[in-house]
């Protein structure tokens, strides 16, 4: 390890390279970029959730000095751009032409010399609407007399979007028929929003001379966006350059293509000047990719203390356009991971999606495609089952875990789990928590009238899509790429198809190359985000950067190492078969001296090559993973609840994660703590709610609540390392584990504190008023 330490390879908490610019205020987010002649665009949004567009008068807005153009749906329709395809094969309005389908929908855009003038002009646009009844839930959407939301779609006679099933219905029915206990949980995973601190936006710059469209875009998937732009706008793909600069967070919010991007690009093309669109926070919260919004029923069959069957049925609130960002073959994402960490022989999932008058999106908010909803359902269900059976929740889990010797494990819904050691993760967590003592303390506290609860969640995630044969985005196979260029002086540039939003790729990926080639991490520059300058990749979401692009980086480094061996053999006058490599040095097997360093070999690759070998030490590879990876862990939360107010707070949070081999442990811990915070936020306060008219309640940060340092608990982290057997580095991906796994732990803790009084469920977010009402309804004494 000393040698890898010298080059800052895998396993070292290397301080981040990217910090240098961020701490100096020299990050380059898209809004920091100003181009010559740049115009500014603002969007007029609908105040109604469902309304026919009767007329729109833009004349006063156009007459305002400084206004260059007002773009309406009618104008977009003239260019065949009023509608665009979604990532789930549906269509979505770019600007309204017929009727508004959700509050905040894009109605018109003003392009002006300044953003202030553009905002002034928005107020001068006169729009006449004919309001229609709004549909605000899938239950309402599925009723026979519900208004038809997608009346423009040929053959669409109801609001039904899709029906999807996974698993084996007959086997599951049989398991339930033989069960001695069935536990049922109905729960709603509310709509929330990723809300990265930087909103979405772009600068579209279509050069009138060359026709080249350079688009600075808040994009987690710049290459996919380039291809979609080519298809949507009919532009030649080589003439489109997407540059995703520094991103102020993403969390899934920056995966879809939004109307603002399309209009800004069309405006730049028509006007011949760059157009910048900066979304404001309200626009971000009410119109861009939401998450969750799943109404779920889970049923668990238990026989002799063993889980024998699982049923899950879902109603998904899709909003007005089916725009989930997910692999196309899976209509409910990867929800069928719902059997979680348990050896459940039979399972069946039924999902139905419904249109409503809400914003579209269905993005996986810090989650690998609906895995969060699945993890929540099984972990809540298992906890309730333990309570109902009168067994300890940790004992019930231990008795039903998939055991370490069962891997690779074939789940009842068709996944092949790569590796795991669930009992050990649980053991570490309980030890850190002091579980047995805490249970005694809980008993004592209850006698004093204090409400203490202990919540456990032992999650298993599925991340790192593909392989490409089964997993694709809009048809594009989910591989990823790495291009490595080792320069003559032994320094290197690594170019990737993924895109960091704060995850620290510039550091982590340099460490991978350092490990594999022995070039110090500080000598390796990592580049991402510019489609003219990086190899094609599917982007960063669903915890796929390390599992897929990380593997690609390792594989291209190994390929260059093989070539380097040939060059080293030439320099050492030996046969390549006899050359060994260790920590950046090549030498003849059995005699470490003389040796040639990677820097010597890199120089020779351009100056002193053996006959017949191509010059250079560069290469590119595209990695299609053979399987997904399955990170797991146990989270344990202790809460105290105030009977008088319903206020609850976590007093202890323990998180034991196993994400396989950790490349940079400091960054991994940072990812976990961030996820634990968003899990807490989801459990405690975050919700995008709507009233019966479809008005979005949660349109700014005073209504959509996000925890600050004051509310956020402290975290006590533990770790375990069970390498992925199929990943070249044994790594699994970690960015979303805690968002996926932790909400159930917080909620289980609150329910654990109240179960004795008869409270069996409270739907998230567990705001104090809901907890207080639940305690009152249960007749708990004040």
């Amino acid at each position: 390890m000393a040698a890898t330490h010298a080059v800052r390879g895998i396993g070292h908490s290397v301080e981040r390279k990217e910090d240098a610019r961020f701490i100096r205020g020299r990050g380059r987010y898209f809004d920091d970029i100003t181009l010559p002649g740049m115009l500014h665009m603002e969007i007029l949004r609908s105040p109604y959730a469902h309304a026919r567009l009767v007329s729109i008068d833009t004349s006063a807005a156009e007459a305002l000095p400084g206004v260059v153009a007002v773009v309406t749906g009618e104008l977009m329709a003239q260019h065949n751009l009023a509608w665009m395809p979604t990532l789930s094969g549906d269509t979505q309005a770019v600007l309204v032409t017929d009727k508004v389908r959700y509050q905040g929908q894009e109605v018109a855009c003003v392009v002006a010399e300044s953003a202030y003038v553009a905002k002034d002009a928005l107020e001068l646009i006169e729009v006449e609407y004919e309001p229609l009844d709004a549909v605000t839930s899938p239950q309402q959407s599925s009723s026979e007399d519900a208004p038809l939301i997608r009346d423009e779609k040929e053959g669409q006679t109801s609001n039904h979007v899709y029906h999807w099933e996974a698993g084996d219905k007959d086997a599951t029915d049989a398991a339930f028929a033989e069960a001695d206990h069935v536990v049922t949980l109905d729960t709603f995973y509310p709509r929330s929003h990723p809300s990265p601190l930087e909103c979405c936006g772009c600068i579209a710059d279509v050069d009138p001379a060359t026709g080249k469209a350079t688009i600075h875009l808040t994009s987690q998937a710049p290459h996919v966006h380039r291809t979609l732009f080519a298809i949507v706008a009919g532009l030649p793909e080589q003439q489109i350059r997407i540059i995703s600069p520094d991103l102020g967070g993403g969390f899934g919010n920056k995966v879809p293509i939004y109307p603002g991007y399309v209009v800004a690009t069309a405006a730049s093309l028509l006007i011949g000047r760059p157009v910048k669109w900066v979304e404001d926070r309200t626009g971000n919260l009410i119109s861009t990719g939401f998450a969750r919004d799943y109404h779920m029923r889970g049923e668990l069959a238990v026989k002799d203390g063993k889980m024998t069957g699982l049923r899950a049925s879902l109603l998904s609130d899709q909003g007005a356009f089916y725009a989930d960002a997910q692999p196309t073959k899976f209509r409910a994402g990867l929800f069928h991971i719902v059997t979680g960490s348990y050896d459940i022989p039979a399972a069946h999932v039924v999902a139905d999606g419904w249109y409503t008058n809400k914003a579209p999106g269905g993005v996986a908010y810090r989650c690998s495609f609906r895995v969060t909803e699945a993890s929540y359902l099984i972990e809540r269900l298992v906890d309730n089952a333990a309570h109902e059976l009168g067994v300890d929740a940790t004992r019930f889990r231990l008795d039903n875990f998939i055991q370490p010797e069962q891997f690779p494990y074939h789940s009842a819904t068709g996944f092949v789990y790569d590796s795991g050691n669930y009992p050990e993760a649980m053991r570490i967590a309980l030890e850190k928590l002091g579980y047995d003592d805490l249970r005694r303390e809980q008993e004592e506290a209850r006698k004093d009238g204090r409400l203490l609860g202990i919540g456990i969640a032992s999650f298993t995630e599925v991340v790192g899509a593909g392989h490409g044969k089964d997993y694709d985005i809009a048809g594009l196979r989910m591989f990823d790429s790495a291009e490595l260029r080792v320069h003559p002086t032994g320094k290197a540039i690594l170019k990737l198809g993924v895109k960091s939003q704060g995850q620290g790729h510039e550091t982590t990926f340099a460490q991978i190359i350092a490990q594999e080639l022995g070039i110090p991490a500080e000598d390796i520059e990592v580049q991402e985000g510019d489609t003219d300058n990086t190899p094609y990749g599917l982007g960063t979401y669903a915890s796929r950067s390390t599992p897929v692009a990380g593997a690609a980086a390792a594989m291209i480094a190994r390929r260059l190492r093989d070539k380097a061996k040939e060059i080293a053999a030439h320099l050492l006058e030996a046969s390549a078969d006899d050359i060994e490599f260790e920590a950046g040095n090549f030498f003849v097997k059995g005699s470490p001296e003389p040796s040639k360093s990677i820097q010597d070999v890199a120089f020779a690759a351009y100056t002193n090559l053996p006959d017949g070998l191509e010059a250079g030490l560069e290469g590119v590879t595209y990695y299609d993973p053979p399987n997904m990876t399955f990170p797991f862990g146990t989270y344990a939360v202790v809460v105290e609840i105030d009977r008088g107010t319903g206020q609850w707070r976590p007093v202890k949070v323990v998180a034991v994660d196993d994400c396989g081999v950790r490349i940079n442990p400091m960054i991994v811990a940072g990812q976990i703590m961030g996820g634990l915070t968003e899990g807490y936020a989801t459990a405690a306060m975050q919700q995008i709610a709507f009233d019966e008219d479809g008005n979005c309640i949660g349109s700014n940060f005073t209504d959509y609540l996000i925890p600050t340092a004051w509310e956020t608990p402290e975290f006590d982290l533990g770790e375990l390392t069970t390498p992925s057997p199929h990943h070249p580095l044994g790594a699994k991906g970690v960015g979303e584990s805690a968002t996926v796994g932790s909400p159930a732990a917080y909620v289980n803790a609150v329910i654990d504190a109240l179960w004795h009084a008869g409270v069996k469920n409270i739907d998230m977010p567990l705001t104090p008023d809901k907890v207080w009402e639940a305690m009152n309804a249960a007749g708990m004494p004040e």
């Binding site: 981040r16 910090d19 961020f22 100096r24 601190l197 930087e198 620290g504 600050t708 340092a709």
Partner: protein, 168 residues
């Protein structure tokens, strides 16, 4: 910079004189121009960010006469005569401020968007309270939102900077 000035409002321009990061700056601005837009667009100091528009997130926090102010909710003309410090003014003579060094060493940032406001608010707080408890730090930063870190390393960074500043 004409792009900031509404052509319809040029008649109502106001003279603004401020000191920003130690340098005297003058401009003619609309009364409605927000301080954050003056800093970002007029002066090109893009380290100050806009995250929410409603004074909730603190990404736009700068120091006005030493006091943290959310610059998305202050008019530029209200800063007349003031001394303003932005993130670009933290490092002195090529030397990072201890708060910058600490955020780096303690991994107190991920995407970096909240970082300038977090650091500036922390600097002002540490002047008031040079030896804070963790709880006091958390309260002092409760007007700042971070979506990435979970705050724990930010608290560590502020403690670390406090220790460095005390030694100095």
């Amino acid at each position: 910079m004409t792009q900031l000035e509404s052509p319809s409002a040029t008649a109502g321009l106001h003279r603004l004189e401020v000191t920003v990061n130690g340098a005297a700056r003058e401009a003619s601005v609309e009364a409605r121009l927000l301080l954050v837009h003056f800093l970002r667009q007029e002066l090109g100091l893009t380290g100050t960010h806009v995250g929410c528009d409603t004074t909730s997130c603190g990404a736009c926090a700068v120091l006005v006469d030493g006091v943290p102010v959310k610059s998305c909710t202050m008019l530029a003309v209200q800063a007349q005569g003031a001394e303003i410090t932005t993130v670009e003014g933290l490092a002195q003579g090529g030397q990072l401020h201890p708060i910058q060094q600490a955020f780096h060493e303690e991994h107190g940032l991920q995407c970096g968007f909240c970082t300038p406001g977090m650091m500036l608010t922390s600097v002002a707080f540490l002047k008031e309270n040079p030896r804070p408890t963790d709880e006091e730090i958390r309260f002092a930063l409760s007007g700042q939102i971070c979506r990435c870190t979970g705050y724990q390393n930010i608290v560590k960074a502020v403690q670390s900077a406090a220790a460095t500043l005390e030694e100095a």
